[in-house]
């Protein structure tokens, strides 16, 4: 018989607001050394590679991303009733149908087609600072970088980049941990985005183009199609999944390389290491440090009974440092031999990041352009980080210097 989780002695992971990211990670990794499971403020956390994989691959644990607002105490009916099934939280047949319909647009082949545009985007952003030898690289490159790519992917015209950037930022405030205050802004942005997207869809229905919206409209299997509401949901999911993730992961990467100049030199001297470097950055310092599931029924795992409704955080930031999978996990080494088991930062199981090929391509292209154009990269001031909230983590300000060319 499995022991009910409430009856087990477990370490707890307190949330301390003045805690820095590195202090929190140190505490989490110390806890993970002794226990695969811990208590947190909303339920439990799994901390080891095997248990994170175990939970993410078990279909009885459902995605809780649709419950982020409720978990933060929002009970506004008008808001909650707007929340429909999204690919981010759908399960079972509904999820399989959505994934199958949209998957071709996110294949490695589709991502590869955008590589020249990605290179051009990084190059143009970097041109503005290249001659100075200094940059606030988050503001100058990382923050703007994903917007043109997502717009190009969707088929939004260049004159809409600014509008798009603002709407994406506001919609993503839902993960910011300050929901009560920002709530009206978020709802307004969601509505504006919806109206905007409906306009784009209407345009493409009459004038098809070579872009994701046209693909999604055409996506069809056995007569099954996405309706306008589902198309709008997909566009919102692309924005939520495809902007803040990439920009923060790139910011974390550049911060890491600035702190490990020898690794930057290794990369500069051998650009064939770029794909490996991207994986190592995502393992060592992932922008997404965890995700949340809830038990759709009573679940037994590892001899423990989790009652239906239990919230479970899966801690990628400790699983990625599990020494039983990654030897010498505390060493940042872009030449690390693949161990045959991937890092956890893109998730696992049926909700594994749909945009993984796109994210990898974006990071790979940015790494190779910046490695060539930023010799002698080093920090030129203090790195400031975003608050460690429920969502995506990265630097808010990253002053660097390099040899101007």
């Amino acid at each position: 018989m499995a022991t009910p989780v409430a009856d087990i002695q477990l370490p707890s992971i307190p949330v301390l607001l003045d805690q820095s990211r590195s202090e929190r990670l140190a505490l989490l990794r110390e806890t993970a050394a002794d226990s695969w499971l811990a208590r947190n403020e909303i339920g439990y956390s799994v901390l080891t590679y095997e248990s994170v994989m175990g939970i993410l691959r078990d279909k009885r644990w459902h995605s809780a991303t649709g419950l982020v607002a409720q978990m933060q105490g929002i009970s506004d009916d008008a808001f909650l009733s707007r929340r429909r099934v999204s690919i981010l939280n759908a399960e079972g047949e509904v999820h399989v149908r959505l994934r199958r319909l949209v998957a071709p647009a996110f294949s490695p082949r589709s991502a590869d087609r955008l590589r020249p545009f990605m290179r051009q985007t990084v190059n143009e952003l970097f041109d503005a600072v290249a001659h100075t030898g200094k940059a606030e690289i988050v503001r100058d490159v990382c923050e703007p970088y994903p917007i043109p790519i997502i717009c190009e992917l969707l088929g939004a015209p260049k004159e809409d980049w600014k509008l798009f950037s603002r709407l994406a930022t506001d919609v993503l405030r839902i993960f910011g941990g300050n929901l009560a205050e920002e709530f009206p802004l978020i709802v307004a942005a969601q509505q504006e985005l919806e109206t905007y997207t409906e306009g784009l869809i209407a345009d493409r229905r009459s004038q098809p183009a070579d872009d994701l919206i046209t693909d999604l409209i055409a996506a069809e299997e056995s007569g099954d199609k996405l309706n306008t509401e589902e198309l709008t949901m997909m566009v919102e999911a692309v924005i939520v999944g495809g902007t803040d993730t990439t920009r923060n992961q790139l910011g974390l990467a550049i911060a890491l390389f600035a702190e490990h100049p020898e690794q930057w030199e290794i990369l500069r001297n051998d650009l064939s290491l770029v794909p490996r470097a991207v994986e190592e950055v995502m393992r060592f310092s992932g922008a997404v440090s965890g995700t949340i599931r809830f038990a759709s029924e009573d679940i037994e795992y590892n001899g423990v009974l989790f009652p239906k409704g239990t919230f479970m955080s899966t801690s990628m930031s400790t699983g990625n440092f599990d020494a039983s999978v990654f030897p010498t996990p505390n060493v940042f080494d872009i030449t690390r031999e693949p161990v045959g088991q991937p890092h956890l930062s893109l998730g696992a199981g049926i909700h594994y990041c749909l945009g993984a090929s796109l994210a990898r391509a974006e990071l790979q292209e940015a790494f190779s352009v910046l490695a060539e154009r930023m010799p002698n990269l080093s920090l030129n001031g203090v790195v400031e980080y975003k608050p460690t909230g429920v969502g995506i983590f990265g630097p808010s300000s990253l002053p660097v210097s390099f040899s101007a060319q």
Binding site: M53, R57, K59, V96, R99, R100, A103, P104, F106, S107, P108, A111, D112, P275, G340, Q341, P342, A348, G349, I350, H351, Y352, C353, L354, A356, S357, R360, A361
Partner: protein
């Protein structure tokens, strides 16, 4: 058993390579390769699990 993958749908998520590494492989080009089209022994069950857990339902198993 015969394993087929719909490569128009496969997004190279790697879910299958984690479950059945002797049957599926993602190479450095980012694309998925089938190493064993007719898996036998323990790999049969692993291939079934991989098909079940594929996020894009791109894997088909013919028994």
């Amino acid at each position: 058993m015969k394993v087929t993958v719909d490569f128009d749908i496969c997004a190279s998520t790697g879910a299958c390579t984690q479950i059945a590494p002797e049957v599926f492989e993602i190479r450095t080009d980012g694309y998925l390769y089938i190493l064993q089209e007719n898996p036998t022994g323990a790999n049969e069950e692993l291939a079934r699990q991989a098909a079940d857990l594929c996020p894009t339902a791109a894997i088909t198993i013919e028994e």
